[in-house]
Symmetry: C3
């Protein structure tokens, strides 16, 4: 009985200090959520209006056929993008064995906040009409895009931040995203429909800087939880596959109607297919025994979509798209294998999901490909379609070479704003008021979530045992057999 | 060896009386399925026809462009609704640890039945053309909507009913749904495109009455299974996220073409986003240590979609939508925390999924919001679009205030039919012929499903051990170490 | 200590010979992937062009409205098909307890390869315009369709083949698929929009022949892994439900615009619903204690989609569709119950996923239904729509009866090419250079994938123990209690 008590105590001691006062969200999270939402509602009330395709009066004031409403051109793409944001990003991050709730749940929270805040910020910078922000399906897609950028940054700090930190990061990042987007798309006339620069490069380097500032020297105390188990990898594959399938919709969602949307989807489709073969090849070659690594498959196979984010709407040709996708897959796996450890050890950048390999480098590659493709654009190839893809080239205000230069400049600006912004926001998030988890409890859901398995109610003890025994009967059986053998050997020896 | 036998026997005794004669579906289920399907086929053969947009001859008889076919206006929305019905509802209910097969599987069965039966019932009440029911993409959406209502009721009785009971419930509920829908939409001219009343309020109060009549005083014998485990909660999040993402398509699926579909999707999008922030805030504030509760996130975050089901197509504005969504999230979490225990303890309503909090109260809220918004409608705001949203107001047969009154009356009628219908159907389901599970085996898949883990074939015993050992090697190792320590201590003590 | 060593050794001996030299993919897989992708890129560079709806210049050269672009008619269906290929097929096969990575991952790899190769092969046979292959959304759907056929064959050999074998199979199967499709659709004028013959029958009998040639007499050495566990069945249900929901899009994806797409979706919807009820009924009646079998639900419920693949676009009527679906469900469950064991024991066809029951027999049924429906076509029923469905009948070059004959002949040709092709490719795959897994390690992910659970790094031992103890605390507790009881009994007896 003494021994029994000892053993049982040892098990239960694990349970203590799970509920640290510092990480208690009882007041912090509700206050943050309510204040943010009330501010959003007030700002929407004073600033936001239906656009003419959404407003009952406006739409019926002008003569249109119903099928000309932008809704029918973009809503299916919008829904695909929406799935990528909530299922794609959410489940991609469930690969961690004890952070599935946090991955899907915090993804859900910050996405729901960001899309509202992005509507305001993007509307403020480039959607004002007579003092009002006009919204419709295109602004919804843009808000989801901006949200995607925040979720990329979330990938870098996954498991090491409190929900309040994440909401705070979202407030700043959405704002800076809108500033950068305004400079690029509105001031410079950059083309970036799929967001290689505005979404991926921006989100990645912003997130990397934040995680750099939030560097935890003792993170290896949570090392054992910073990895996957069998079923968590399968959940993550749900995210991967949805991102992969719907990326053609992502890149084509806000390109011009007609051939442009069609072409962008096609280019992305082939880029991703080529990227996938490169990923499988590279994954096998870089492992010591030729086994495929789920981390590579889950992430690098998507780099092909990132890398044609800028050039996808251009006359890149399927041939060009496949070359770009192929290169993106190779770069991305090499990044996971060789660059990530260096970033962590030398530069102290702890990048949980490896966003540098999936969004950072492929985003930069995509920007460069976009600049080159733009510089090579000719009327011979684009014909009258030039006005859709490069309006400034079509109306003669810049030539193609200069458009290429603008694209390259845009990359530099994006990197600058992302790095600087990330540094500043990182320092803000370091303030000791956000309830960040201790080093010993990173990558652990039970810090912020009720996790039923770990705390069964006392009065159900007996039933719980029975469930376990019925669920794990064979383990139990084996154990018993082992005990028997063991004791038999013991008797034999004595 | 004697001890070994004893221990093994103890394990296996659990297996007995799993296969109760009463719950045996060997004949009952096939007979029910076959008779129902044959009746359906005969009725379809005598009553159902393609509508003019689906029929080869009819469509080509009139002069149309192909893109004017309703298919292109509604099919993407239909598919989103379809995903909500089969993946959304199905996986949302997999949160129970041992009822995943039943959740997805019975959801699948009763949905496949209901959508056929609903086609007939809805067609009979408001789709007859010259003695024939005309069907096309709009009738498919309506059939899925009606199915949704049955699945809401399923949520209340989840885990406590046999498949035959569920099919029987579906037969009656679909019929009453069609009656109620006919009274509201056809007789009174109520507007309810997203079904706050017809789908959510009706399904919820019907289901609550059924579960009230099927009250089990000894349900706590299955209490240990009436909860989630880590991975079952992740599966449920798949359902939640799909419902959340596609709710804009749900509410806009059968609104008028053009600005109406566009506006409804937009309103729902912002309502849901606001609802999500309210849910996270309320979940943290109502828990004793500030931890988020998966039950709230999985359910209450969706209340915003329910609550704009009626008013979503109206000129509610994003501002109005967000206020409604925000309120719905708060009400829903409070319902889970404070009202559900009261319903169970005082009113003896055992509501497995908490449908009162997700569909009941938010549905009523949505009906009220719809009535108020309708009463406030002016030509100044709606312009020529009034004819789409409120045809009776546009043609002058009622004024806006009266339309509001009709909306309010419709809520009362819906509640009346749902409660009365649920009571009667509950008594029908109480007949002791349906093979309902005993109190000790509720929330348990192995009653109606082959569950491989629990009954490995005898001749594979050795292999099974090996799999378990290889899958759970570390548990085994630890156990052995513990044994060693244990015996060592034992020897030391003796 | 001696005993401890013994026990530990026994556990770890399992780990040896996991990394067999023969199955090592370190060089084979990268070389295969890279060479294939480079060949694809070169061929795309020399042969492939945007079609006129995707090309910026071509589209703007002719006068069109943007909404007339085929993109808006087919892209939503394309995305649904894409989900079926990657999520549907991928997750359907995750039912195996230890082959989830291989199911989703190899599905991903061979699909990404096949869709590129299919673009070329199908383009070569029936998409050449002036020496160039023209591509757009329709060719993307066709490439996905061809990929589907390869994935059906993959289902037969699942768990028993290396990725190189699968890629090799895909190379040949895609080629033969394109040949068969060319003979049917282009030479004979067969109608098969949903691919009952070209996709399902072809893929099934091809795969069955391949697995026949690859027969493993000692496969029962891996028998214990050739089954499902609780959560793997839930993952598989994700695949099932997506296939089920999106099958209306699959069958209607490449039918003519307007009423044809509309009608095909409708027919498939009702066929699947009827099939589902038949499946549940048959599953209960064929099991000895009336319990539903997940294998049937996951597979047979889909047979209704396969069986209306040919006739879905015709004037089959919902009545006809439901009869076909009902029959398909019955046939499919009977196949699983009675035919599959015979195929395995007598004909030595080891069909892992039972593709003969889901794709083989229902595909043949679909072809027959198509032939009969075609033979019965009259202008009275089709009107001007005859030109869309049966152009050869409309222009008088064949009569309806002859069209029916052509359909029946096409089934025979498809079966011939599939069986012969499968035999030859089976022998190719038997060459001992592909790194096929040994009989003892079939259905096992760790042969080709890094599986974290099974090989934790040594230095994390202690942490790993802690995770396990915290995750499986109650198992541990029970074990300890048992030990205590055990030792107590032991003491008592001695």
């Amino acid at each position: 009985s003494f021994v029994l008590t000892l053993v049982l105590k040892w098990f239960f001691c694990l349970e203590s200090n799970m509920t640290d006062a510092a990480t208690n969200m009882r007041l912090k999270l509700p206050i943050t959520c309510f204040i943010l939402e009330i501010i959003l509602i007030i700002l929407f009330g004073t600033l936001v209006q239906y656009d003419y395709e959404t407003d009952a009066k406006e739409w019926h004031n002008t003569s249109h056929q119903d099928y000309e409403n932008d809704f029918y051109f973009r809503y299916p793409s919008f829904q695909d993008v929406h799935v990528m944001i909530f299922v794609g990003f959410g489940f991609l991050m469930t690969f961690l064995q004890r952070y599935g709730f946090g991955s899907v749940g915090f993804n859900f929270l910050i996405a729901a906040f960001s899309l509202q805040w992005a509507t305001l910020m993007q509307g403020f910078f480039h959607g004002m009409h007579g003092g009002k922000i006009h919204i419709g399906v295109e602004s919804m897609i843009n808000a989801d895009f901006c949200t995607g950028s925040v979720l990329i940054s979330f990938g870098a700090v996954l498991g090491k931040t409190s929900p309040i930190q994440l909401l705070t990061m979202a407030i700043f990042e959405v704002t800076l995203f809108a500033v950068n987007e305004f400079i690029l798309l509105s001031l410079l006339g950059t083309k970036d429909a799929g967001g290689s620069m505005t979404i991926h490069t921006f989100g990645a380097y912003f997130g990397l800087m934040v995680t750099r500032i939030l560097y935890r020297p003792n993170l290896d105390k949570s090392k054992h939880r910073n990895s996957s188990v069998y079923h968590s990898d399968l959940f993550a594959m749900i995210g991967t596959v949805y991102l992969w399938m719907f990326w053609p919709s992502f890149n084509s969602a806000i390109t011009a109607h007609g051939d442009d949307q069609h072409r962008t989807a096609l280019n992305t489709y082939y880029s991703l297919a080529a990227c996938t073969l490169a990923t499988y090849g590279m994954s096998a070659i870089t492992s010591h025994d030729g086994k495929l690594d789920m981390v590579h498959i889950q992430n690098a196979a998507l780099a092909g979509g990132v890398a044609v984010g800028t050039a996808g709407e251009m006359m890149l040709t399927p041939f060009g798209s496949m070359i770009v996708g192929f290169m993106a897959g190779i770069i991305s796996v090499l990044g996971f294998k060789f660059l990530s450890p260096i970033l962590e050890d030398k530069l102290k950048i702890q990048d949980t999901c490896g966003i540098h390999n999936l969004h950072g480098m492929p985003g930069v590659l995509g920007a460069i490909v976009g600049a080159v493709t733009a510089a090579l654009a000719t009327t011979d190839v684009y014909g009258q379609g030039m006005a859709d893809v490069f309006p400034a080239v079509a109306d003669g205000s810049v030539n193609a070479t200069k458009q290429g230069g603008i694209q390259a400049l845009s990359l530099a600006i994006t990197l600058g704003i992302a790095v600087l912004g990330g540094l500043i926001v990182g320092f803000v998030l370091k303030l000791p008021v956000f309830g960040t988890p201790p080093d010993t409890l990173c990558f652990e859901d039970s810090v912020y979530w009720e996790v039923s398995l770990m705390r069964p109610e006392r009065d159900h003890r007996v039933q719980v045992h029975f469930i376990y025994i019925s669920n794990h009967k064979h383990v139990c059986e084996i154990m018993c057999n082992i005990c028997v053998i063991y004791v038999a050997v013991f008797i034999f020896l004595t």
